[in-house]
Symmetry: C2
Subunit: 132 residues, 2 copies
DNA sequence: ATAAGGGTTCCACCTGCTGGAAGGTCAATA
DNA sequence: TATTGACCTTCCAGCAGGTGGAACCCTTAT
């Protein structure tokens, strides 16, 4: 399979697939003409990566997950730990964004948004200047 | 004011302040010895930037906001638009993360996380391989 | 023969900093 | 006065995770 086919199959751009090869996540063979030649297992790996990335796992997480995936003797606890840590990071991020959202929504709400220059958003961002 | 003082005052690392000068967000003067010399207005700008960045505005947003801030003739609608677009981006991000979180939490929940190799997390990530 | 549509490499760029090396400056102390 | 230590300076490199483009090769059809 050439890279274009793999791209449409895995949903990853060809550029990304080349990048994944660069950083050692996949090792496709090469045809006589120099084209990358992907085996079924490579395609599976890439689909795996595509899904893992879509769930927000970092590349390093993906590397670990692929290793565990390949090791049929792994303990599921190892996988669960990676996923649990990632879940905590997501929760953290959601909490941060939610707080930002609240503040920002409040400001947007307070701003008339008309032709006049008075703007609570700028006033809040400046704050210190207010005390001036 | 030297960069160290400004850093502790604005809450931004000195490195970041230098970077902000690099990209033209602030233009401090220079003392005879070559040290950056920050006026009150620079310090205010940096505090403004610090708050705007904490609310997740991009650097380019900040650039626009600073320009609007400096322009006492601005229409508040211009500010509101930037903030509203940013709010939408935040909502988008929260939605994505929330979906990720749901899927991941479901998987983590389903995984025994013990010494055995059976793992629904890997199984789900692989999917295609399942059909193999 | 040539044009279209694959593929290849390499290098630069994106966001928003951060770290480190190598050196200049300043105030206080031994 | 020498020297320490805490400042400051510049410049260069790197992080994640790709993306864009240039310049080129390969294959197939017309």
């Amino acid at each position: 399979m050439n890279i274009g086919d793999v791209a449409s199959f895995s949903g990853l751009p060809a550029k990304t697939i080349r990048y994944y090869e660069d950083i050692g996540l996949v090792q496709p063979l090469r045809s006589a003409n120099g084209y990358r030649s992907f085996r079924q297992s490579d395609v599976h790996k890439l689909a795996f990566l595509s899904r893992a990335r879509a769930l927000g796992f970092t590349i390093e997480d993906c590397r670990s997950l692929l290793k565990l995936y390949a090791d049929t003797e792994r303990a599921s606890s190892e996988v669960k730990q990676i996923a649990t840590e990632h879940l905590a990071r997501i929760d953290q991020k959601i909490a941060e964004l939610t707080e930002m959202r609240a503040t920002l929504a409040h400001l947007v709400d307070a701003c008339a948004g008309d032709h006049r220059p008075d703007c609570p958003i700028l006033a809040d961002l400046a704050m210190m200047q207010e005390a001036n």
